[in-house]
Subunit: 396 residues, 2 copies
């Protein structure tokens, strides 16, 4: 028999152990770079809203992938999809909260495959091999993964001087094996927005699925349009758009993991599962309901006005940085959203990295800065000042 | 200018809003069924360890997918992989923490594809179409998704009377297009363990990749073997095993999402990403470091002894349920681990579901119960009592 004393000793030992482990984890975390440090100038994630953590806590044990036991969580997901459907001009949205952009893009291309195969079956056409997708050369690297993963040939359409996809290039790449065309609304490297209306025309004329990757731009473009920035639309208001991916864990202010995929029509893909008593339409089996709760909290807490305020500040800070760089005689590319590219000498770029700035380069060699909500005026001033000093030192 | 009063009013309004939203979420959550209710008898997830939430909190904003800013988190992941490598008899493990079993299984089949294609390239063989995988008919439904996703033909090997894969059936299905064979260590429906040694012999003789899906069994089998249960081994100690998937968010006691994939050799798959300054080997781009922290906390807090204790209790409770059912004259299948199947009349099964018990049926029609750590003796007694009453009522 265990005595009360034994139990107390054990509880005490466990408490000590717990504290030790958490201290160890805190020490590891000191090696990570935090958003609050102001050093991170090229991540598409940011410091999430405070409410999210509390929202997640409520659903910490709930599996959104098991419909039998997560009725409440599934309702939350549906509400989120409906709200974001409204934001994206879609009356009757279908879709899921996902783990992020890659999963959303996978689900979109899976849906394109499912529709194409069904259409071919109905028309009695033979299966074609290999299937092909056309993506802009500026598309996210997840499409290179998807090509290997799904065994689909990836064809890259060239971009114009503004890093938007060239419509003629897309047209020329289409053939009978094309199952989907991808447009990007907010490219990872440049923040450029493809001509989705133009792509939609091409896709409708050729009966091809059109997916819009707005992982980054989805929570930016609708709001800067409301702020009267003159940028292209990308949403379901454009006839011919079949699906849109957008990430609450980027500019949506949610905690990782949380992406979203919305479809204009009910998706066809699913597998039957006996022991779950029904169909399973997600890619992942087990999925954190906490991600849906976090999403709900962000959308409701911020509302349109809250997002507009956040995006406005990011855009103003981007302008501040752009002006500062120009003032130093540095050539910048005009930003479409809160991503800024500029030309800087290799030695100075490297020195900035050495100093601890987390910045990056595009595949074409431009420096790339993403001005997220965690980046404040003081950080921008400090960054500009460091560049100024480095340029001065280089001259001497 | 905003006055201090304005600011205070705003903060107060925001606090009220926050509380309202959290109350709404709590109300939604009332519709979910909690593990503590004792009603959930067929989920493979469970109430996670308390320490996990605090561990996750530390890394709430950290993206494990961005190596530049998550050095500490990546160290944690490596330590977890090494510990689990030890558990699975692997000296130099490679692998990742993933979102769960589906992603882990995808990564395994991607790796099989990468190796097969490289080998064919080296030998100058032509690409074969379509690639094929052989899985037991008892395999998890994620492999049906993988078949469609990866455009791979799935061939199902038959199972013997103990729901373990028939080795001759596997042998007969192998051809030059086979890129991988999957064995299951702890099938979802029956908890049965395939003859991994037998599969390894076949795979080595035919130079085929062998993946073991131990999503459920990975955190059970090593411990019941230490408790001297006479069950098969499945780990890297068996020559010919190329990868193993196992889920910390199932019997590993971690919060969703957290799976794991371990490889015996360095995986070949990756894509180059300019703006992240290097290769990206994961399936998902952005990934919560919190999942790694939770994993570290579980492994270190419980240790081998802790897991053994948990698994022992689950096994004893499974036995308790088995004996109880037998006592009621119900035919049961002998359980391999903490999953129990039995034959029960449809009317009684349906009544149990109506009463609120979350139970399930296998594709062959057996009732299926998973005795997880959240299921206590009192719940089992209550469940048995309900069956007894229903049987009695049915007689009258």
């Amino acid at each position: 028999m265990k005595t009360d004393n034994d139990k107390q000793t054990k509880t005490k030992q466990e408490e000590t152990k717990k504290k030790e482990i958490l201290t160890e984890l805190q020490n590891f975390h000191k090696k990570d770079i935090s958003f609050s440090s102001g050093k991170i100038l090229s991540s598409m994630c940011t410091k999430p809203l405070k409410i999210v953590e509390e929202a997640r806590k409520i659903f910490k044990e709930t599996n959104l992938g098991d419909k039998r036991i997560s009725e409440g969580a599934i309702e939350i997901e549906k509400i989120c999809i409906r709200w974001v459907g409204d934001l994206l001009n879609l009356n009757q949205p279908y879709g899921f909260i996902t783990s992020g952009g890659t999963e959303s893009n996978i689900l979109a291309i899976m849906e394109a495959r499912a529709r194409k195969r069904e259409a071919m079956k109905e028309s009695g056409e033979k299966e074609m091999m290999p299937e092909e997708i056309i993506v802009p050369e500026t598309a996210h690297f997840s499409f290179d993964k998807i090509s290997f993963l799904m065994d689909i040939k990836i064809k890259k359409a060239s971009a114009d001087k503004n890093f938007c996809v060239d419509l003629n290039s897309v047209k020329n790449l289409i053939n009978k094996n094309t199952i989907a065309v991808v447009g990007v609304a907010g490219t990872t490297e440049y923040g450029s927005i493809d001509d989705i209306e133009g792509l939609a025309q091409i896709c409708m004329a050729n009966k091809i699925y059109l997916h819009v990757d707005a992982a980054f731009g989805g929570f930016v473009i609708p709001f800067i349009r409301k702020l009267n920035y003159n940028v292209r639309n990308f949403d379901f208001g454009i006839e011919g758009v079949d699906s849109i991916a957008l990430d609450p864990h980027k500019m949506g202010m949610n905690i990782i993991p949380s992406g979203m995929i919305l479809f204009g029509k009910e998706p066809k893909f699913s597998v039957n599962v006996s022991y779950l008593q029904g169909k399973h339409e997600r890619l992942l089996g087990t999925f954190p309901a906490a991600s849906a709760a976090g999403c709900y909290a962000c959308l409701k807490f911020l509302g349109e006005d809250g997002y507009i305020k956040i995006v406005k500040e990011c855009m103003e800070n981007t302008k501040e940085l752009a002006e500062g760089l120009k003032g130093l005689g540095i050539e910048i590319l005009n930003p479409t959203m809160n991503i800024l590219n500029f030309n800087i000498r290799k030695e100075i770029y490297n020195k900035l990295v050495e100093t601890g700035w987390i910045i990056s380069k595009t595949s074409k060699g431009y420096a790339r800065i993403v001005i997220m909500p965690h980046t404040k005026r003081t950080h921008i001033k400090k960054f500009l000042n460091d560049i100024k000093q480095l340029m001065k030192n280089a001259k001497n």
